[in-house]
């Protein structure tokens, strides 16, 4: 592992450097993935640009109306322990608290987790549930990309060679919304997900009528994916156990897991069904416990 180290002191300086170096500079946020790849020799880098000095991107800002903005460099631990995030976006807080263990959560960043574009990224399913908007910046300007359009393939995103992720906007969640993220690994900590499932439901009036359901899955396809067909099965329906079984079946049909060192494809398919059912029940319970209209 040998490289030139770039240490910009501001985001503007980082953008200038990225413009000059483009693909030749790999971006180091928390380092929990990049340094492992570099040490293994799985990745070669002429230069590494550490964003550690760009403190301006380490923030959680709650927005008027119930949304929030995360700076790209906020750590997993920062999100997991944030009262605002626990209250408004418990699914994302849960996902962040399940990344690695405490030491990894202190180093690793949400922005890094997303830009790394692992199919197993724990923060991806919750961010897809809330349809987060990513602000991508370069010296040419900024653009906003919905997270659902961000991933292109394993470790591949729509980021241009001169672009950096600046912030992540989480739109307001309102009404009786319940959301959860469930992760299956061989043990509770230090795991890469065999399957990760996020579910968010909105209840309208009755405790039984789901006005909107969103399902996002990790580790089941080349990128994190939404299970749109499965969402359609439950939207605007009275919830029954049979209906939830059907949703889980349809969600599994959207998955294309591969057999790898962690699990066989067959096992993964079974677990998608199990986790999907469990996550829907969990999300419903949370939504039902939220009696007050609007966020708080």
């Amino acid at each position: 592992m040998r490289f030139e180290l770039l240490q910009p002191r501001s985001f503007q300086e980082a953008l200038e450097m990225k413009k000059n170096y483009r693909e030749r500079a790999k971006v180091l946020a928390g380092g929990t993935d990049l340094l492992v790849l570099l040490k293994d020799g799985k990745l070669k880098a002429e230069a590494v640009m550490s964003l550690g000095g760009v403190g301006e991107l380490n923030f959680i800002r709650s927005e008027d109306g119930g949304g929030a903005t995360l700076g790209a460099l906020v750590s997993h631990r920062g999100v997991a322990l944030s009262p605002v995030m626990q209250q408004r976006f418990p699914d994302l807080a849960e996902a962040c608290s399940q990344v690695g263990a405490v030491q990894i959560q202190n180093l690793g960043t949400v922005g890094g987790n997303i830009c790394n574009a692992s199919p197993a990224a724990d923060t991806a399913p919750p961010l897809m549930l809330m349809e987060a908007l990513l602000t991508l910046a370069s010296t040419r300007g900024e653009r906003r990309v919905p997270i659902n359009d961000f991933f292109r393939g394993p470790r591949h995103t729509v980021l241009e060679p001169d672009e950096l992720l600046k912030e992540i906007f989480l739109p307001q969640v309102s009404g009786r919304r319940g959301a959860t993220y469930l992760k299956l690994g061989r043990r509770e900590a230090m795991e890469i997900a065999i399957v990760g499932i996020g579910v968010a439901v909105h209840l309208n009036g009755s405790d039984q009528l789901v006005s909107e359901c969103r399902i996002a899955m990790g580790s089941v396809a080349p990128t994190p994916v939404r299970a749109s067909a499965a969402e359609g099965v439950i939207n605007n329906k009275e919830v029954t156990n049979e209906l939830i079984d059907e949703v889980a079946e349809v969600a599994a049909e959207a998955a294309r897991p591969i057999s790898d060192v962690r699990a066989s494809a067959e096992y993964s398919m079974d677990m998608i069904r199990v986790l999907c059912r469990r996550a829907i029940h969990n999300a419903l319970l949370r939504a039902r416990n939220r009696k007050v209209e609007g966020h708080s």
């Binding site: 180290l5 690695g100 263990a101 030491q103 990894i104 230090m190």
Partner: protein
């Protein structure tokens, strides 16, 4: 090309000239000669290299030393104060929570961060705090006993 790096470790300032790709654990051990922090897996799985950076436990094998400039680093060597062991260290000795000892420095740094935030942790809190520290001797139950002893309310 080597670069100048200033590190603050256990309250001391070290002016070093090192290669920019060297990790904190290597620089602590090989340059500053603080060999208490151990290098186990070198990929962030085992926790043997855990140190505190601005009060938070991190894997020092996943930190480039040059990016740790401006941070306050505390290693196992900085845990005792004025020649007096930390209550966790005392409890580890008393409860026999050290077997081969390789994981102990990292474990103690994780637990120090825990009790700094939460002076009366439950066994569940200890489990979460220690999830990133592996003990090949599987001496976990004595470690749990030691934490309970060190944090027992009077």
């Amino acid at each position: 090309m080597k670069i100048p790096v200033r590190l603050n470790v256990n309250g001391e300032t070290y002016e070093l000239v090192i290669a920019p790709y060297r990790t904190l654990v290597d620089v602590l051990r090989e340059e500053i000669r603080l060999t208490g922090s151990k290098k186990g897996c070198d990929v962030g799985d085992c926790g043997a290299c855990t140190v505190l950076m601005d009060g938070k436990p991190v894997n020092s094998c996943l930190v480039l030393a040059a990016t740790a400039q401006d941070k306050e680093i505390v290693t196992i060597e900085g845990l005792a104060q004025n020649g007096k062991l930390h209550p966790l260290q005392e409890a580890f000795i008393k409860e026999g929570a050290v077997q081969c000892g390789f994981c102990t420095p990292g474990v103690l740094m994780s637990l120090k961060a825990l009790v700094d935030d939460n002076p009366a942790p439950t066994p569940e809190d200890v489990k979460i705090a220690m999830a990133g520290n592996l003990c090949r001797c599987t001496g976990y139950s004595k470690i749990f006993k030691a934490v309970a002893a060190a944090t027992r309310q009077p």
